[in-house]
């Protein structure tokens, strides 16, 4: 498992820990996401490595106090490399009974539960579905519980700022944050500065929030705590030197797309339609107009992809983004982009399906859709990212392939990656090799569907003199691009469309082993956001002497050219996926390898021990 390992008692009375997992949980109106991201900042500045997991309710404004209105933010931080947001909680902050009800099962035995007793009322018990007071009826037996009337203490701390009861109570999250800062010896200054900036126009609110935070911190320092409440210190992690920032997957993806279009030397037309959890990308790109980006909120998903293709046709790099249901709507147009061979990037922020499914919960169940999900023989490239910071690099790779091969590229991310944040070693753009596009301008011997050595056809901007031509979705003649219903020509076009995409395998790195050896008893093969738990599980197992390795895919289609041989070097291959078994079907069909599935669709990432157990189950039998 990851997180929650105590090391030594220090002179300060603080216990040194290797890592800890903390979850802030409350009503969706309680500001838990904000509290969590502040704690993340402070923790990053303290030099710990970390990973976070924000978990929002599906409803925008669920009824106050209900279990389906609970919003949570989890952070795992430590003095060592952190790869997941953690399996079990060391500390749970529950701002109301519903938050306790939903989250208690994730707290490790003996873990610390901090509750705001001010909200533990009969009415709230009923709303949360408790028959009696859970703090008294044995529900929290086996945990260390710190009961504090945070509501009252918050009101007292903000009295001097003259806010209304309602406004004053809003600072409750900051009071809780102050207490947790005390618990882990964190600096309150970052948050104080941030509050001053955020409420620059309402200094009374800024001061109330700061006051509440300081009061929470002071409470920890001065109040007489029960003996079993220990404070902790987590020393800085040994991480690669350099300049860091915290980054979410959707920000990194947005920046990667910007960087990619700069490296390609194109303008970008990004067209999207609001959908959870993909909208964040549109929001992140919309302000970046100085990067030669035009963003367009289309009337629907279909219009978004069509406008993006129109943009590519006119010489910009067309990008569209959505989640599964929206990608389904775009299918026909993506097929057109394959047929007319124009660059296009389709970002899919995967979420639980089928249909509307679970919009706010993460899943990896659109792999079939990405690789196969169109009418006809319609191949395209599929690239995937494995974490927030990695989204930047995956986006650049998608831009490179789309422009070099004149093809749509499906770029897979998921709701977890989009929302999660991690410390990120900021890359230097000078380290990236540019891949400038060339637009055809020479009318000499021009044929719209002639091909270069990569089988890519020329990119011609309308407006170029002498190169007027027509393209469309009807099958085209192999070179002239004129309509052709000729049977052998269709065979030839189908073949070349396939070969063009398969050839990309010669232009991507051979598959490397992420962790472990390039042969052995078992390889865990993953893709996307399962990276963290797989990597940690494999690291743990290897420490215990288990012969297991981790292989993680960036390129889902085409697959790296050595992948079949590499997987063949292991006795067994385990494929954990947050779906019902999709990559495994592709691997079986491509390489006839009888891999072992490990599937989970609970809307939560894999736990490390789930993967460890599966590895043991395979090896020990």
């Amino acid at each position: 498992m990851e997180g929650g390992t105590a090391a030594a008692q220090l002179d300060t009375g603080r216990q040194e820990m290797d890592s800890a997992v903390v979850r802030f949980a409350g009503d969706s109106g309680d500001g838990m996401q904000l509290t969590g991201s502040q704690f993340t900042q402070a923790t990053a500045l303290a030099g710990n490595d970390l990973a976070t997991f924000p978990d929002f309710p599906a409803e925008i404004r669920a009824p106050v106090g209900t279990t389906f209105g609970v919003s949570a933010f989890q952070i795992n931080f430590g003095a060592r490399q952190i790869r997941t947001s953690g399996d079990e909680l060391d500390v749970l902050i529950a701002m109301n009974p519903a938050a306790l009800k939903v989250n208690l099962e994730d707290v490790r035995k003996g873990g610390l539960v901090i509750v705001d007793t001010g909200s533990f009322t009969d009415k709230n018990f009923r709303k949360a579905g408790y028959e009696s007071d859970p703090l008294e009826d044995g529900s929290v037996d086996g945990f260390r519980v710190l009961k504090i009337d945070m509501s009252r203490l918050t009101m007292e701390s903000v009295k001097e700022f003259g806010l209304s009861q309602k406004e004053g109570l809003r600072s409750k999250n900051m009071w809780a944050l102050g207490l947790v800062y005390w618990l882990f010896d964190r600096d309150t200054e970052v948050t104080a500065n941030w509050l001053k900036g955020k409420f620059a126009k309402r200094p009374d609110i800024a001061n109330a929030n700061i006051g509440a935070m300081m009061a929470g911190h002071a409470f920890g320092e001065t109040a007489e705590m029960p003996e079993e409440i220990t404070t902790h210190v987590i020393p800085p992690a040994n991480i690669k030197p350099g300049l860091y920032r915290a980054v979410t997957g959707s920000d990194a993806m947005a920046w990667g797309l910007c960087a990619g279009s700069q490296l390609a030397g194109t303008e970008m037309l990004f067209a999207g339609y609001p959908i959870t959890p993909a909208s964040a990308l549109l929001h992140a790109l919309a302000p970046l107009k100085d990067f030669n980006i035009t963003t367009f909120q289309a009337e629907d998903e279909i219009a978004a992809v069509c406008a993006a293709i129109g943009g590519s046709y006119a010489g910009a790099l067309g990008i569209t983004s959505s989640s599964g249901p929206g990608i389904a709507l775009k299918g026909e147009a993506i097929g057109l982009a394959v047929a007319v061979e124009l660059p296009l990037i389709i970002v899919n922020s995967q979420r639980g399906g089928p249909s509307t499914g679970l919009p706010t919960k993460t899943e990896q169940s659109d792999l079939y859709q990405a690789v196969y999900g169109r009418n006809g023989d319609t191949p395209l490239a599929v690239v995937s990212c494995s974490g927030p910071g990695d989204a930047f690099h995956a986006a650049i790779e998608a831009c490179r392939i789309a422009t070099k091969y004149m093809t749509p590229v499906m770029l897979l991310t998921d709701g977890y990656i989009n929302n999660a944040s991690e410390p990120w070693l900021i890359p230097d753009m000078a380290d990236f090799e540019p891949f400038p596009v060339t637009y055809r301008t020479d009318p000499e011997n021009f044929q719209p569907f002639s091909r270069d050595e990569f089988l890519a056809r020329p990119w011609v901007k309308p407006g170029t003199p002498g190169l007027m031509h027509r393209i469309g979705g009807i099958e085209k003649d192999y070179t002239s691009g004129n309509i052709s219903y000729d049977a052998m020509n269709h065979q030839r076009m189908t073949d070349v469309r396939r070969d063009k995409i398969l050839n990309i395998a010669n232009d991507i790195p051979e598959q490397a082993v992420e962790l472990g050896n390039d042969s052995g008893k078992l390889a865990v093969l993953g893709w996307g956001s399962t990276y963290g738990p797989i990597n940690r599980a494999v690291a743990n197992l290897r420490e215990d002497g288990v012969d297991v390795s981790h292989i993680h895919l960036r390129h889902i289609w085409p697959l790296p050219r050595n992948l079949g041989d590499l997987l063949g070097q292991y006795d067994q291959v385990l494929i954990p996926e947050m779906n019902d078994g999709q990559l495994i079907t592709v691997i079986r069909s491509e390489y006839l390898i009888d891999a072992i599935p490990l599937n989970k669709v609970t809307g939560k990432p894999f736990k490390i021990n789930e993967i460890e157990n599966a590895v043991h189950g395979a090896i020990d039998n």
Binding site: F291, T294, A303, A308, Y313, P462, R470
Partner: protein
């Protein structure tokens, strides 16, 4: 700017490709194709800067026959492609061509939004009141009771009026022409093209195979004078074989009336004068149809906005760019906000 000056004046035939035109013999599309080619020659359009975008349907084959840039896309979505093209390169001269099924059924949503956004395109909607390419099913503009393979007992849903729909979507320019009026169509197309913003043009088109004669009650020689009226901004709305039929507006009933000049004391001074900036009037004229009224052709509404959509987008982009913090410097963007150094 990518505008190129053509070396010498091109002729209509210079805008035609070498591709064999594949519409049914006698299809109204031929006349429209000729009219468009004639218009482009007249307005001296630069073929390299001209783009024809279409969806799916008989009309959508149009781009293949134009020696310009062309993109035959998917059913109903041509306006969305055109929007993307104009956003990426506002200097291109973009025409959208589609039929009634394409533009008002499967693509009704995109038509509406291209119009209300006021994307600078010239949208030619060929209305033949039938699905031709799929062999004759009734369409969203088919009149009530239309018998077709999918409605053997007659259609029972009311049709949409293309121009009223466009005006309802806040179109700044709507016009109507007729395939058989090749004398009138090129001039109309030139005016439509001259309007900056979305110009929406309905062209009544006869499908000789699946809906032949659908418009003969106002297109045939013997009836056309009585059943067509050409509206012109600032001119009284008058028609008829004797040139004495006229429109009058009854303010009490808020209705249009057909009157005869010289009868019941009606003089030319009583006749309604067409005002192309009056949206309400345009709605009323667009709704007119025989037998009670003539069908109106010409520019029904023309009230250009100061900016087209893509102009406004780029103006905003430029404004933001001027005040942008990072001025396109990726390294600066990546290093903005809270950062820390690990040593």
């Amino acid at each position: 700017m990518t505008v190129q000056t053509a070396p010498e004046k091109l002729l209509p035939k210079d805008y035609a490709t070498d591709q064999e035109v594949r519409w049914c013999p006698g299809c109204g599309d031929y006349a429209i194709l000729k009219a468009v080619q004639k218009t482009l020659a007249e307005i001296e359009a630069d073929p390299a800067n001209t783009v024809f975008i279409s969806g799916i349907g008989c009309a959508a084959r149009f781009p293949y026959y134009m020696e310009t840039y062309g993109f035959h896309t998917i059913h109903g979505r041509a306006p969305a492609f055109a929007t993307g093209i104009k956003l990426a390169n506002p200097d291109l001269d973009v025409w959208v061509v589609g039929g009634d099924g394409d533009g008002l059924s499967i693509g009704g949503n995109h038509t509406m939004h291209a119009i209300r956004r006021n994307v600078d395109i010239t949208y030619l909607l060929f209305n033949n009141e039938i699905y031709g390419l799929t062999k004759g099913q009734y369409s969203p503009t088919s009149r009530l009771g239309t018998r077709s393979p999918s409605t053997p007992h007659g259609s029972i849903d009311s049709p949409v009026s293309a121009l009223q729909f466009a005006l309802g979507a806040n179109a700044r320019f709507v016009a109507r022409g007729i395939d058989r009026r090749i004398d009138h169509l090129p001039g109309l197309l030139a005016k439509s093209h001259a309007h900056k913003g979305c110009s929406f043009v309905e062209i009544i088109q006869n499908c000789i195979v699946y809906n032949d004669g659908a418009f003969e009650h106002f297109t045939e020689k013997d009836v056309k004078a009585e059943n067509q009226v050409e509206v012109e901004h600032g001119q009284p709305i008058i028609w008829g074989a004797d040139g004495n039929k006229a429109l009058q507006f009854d303010a009490k009933t808020f209705k249009l009336e057909v009157v005869t000049i010289g009868e019941n004391g009606v003089t030319e001074a009583d006749v309604l004068v067409h005002d192309e900036k009056n949206r309400l009037l345009a709605q009323m004229i667009a709704a007119m149809e025989p037998p009670h009224f003539p069908i109106a052709i010409g520019v029904l509404f023309n009230d250009p906005d100061d900016f087209s959509y893509e102009q406004a987008v780029h103006a905003q982009n430029d404004m933001v760019k001027q005040n942008a913090k990072h001025a396109g410097d990726m390294n600066a963007l990546l290093r903005s906000g809270a950062t820390w150094t690990v040593t």
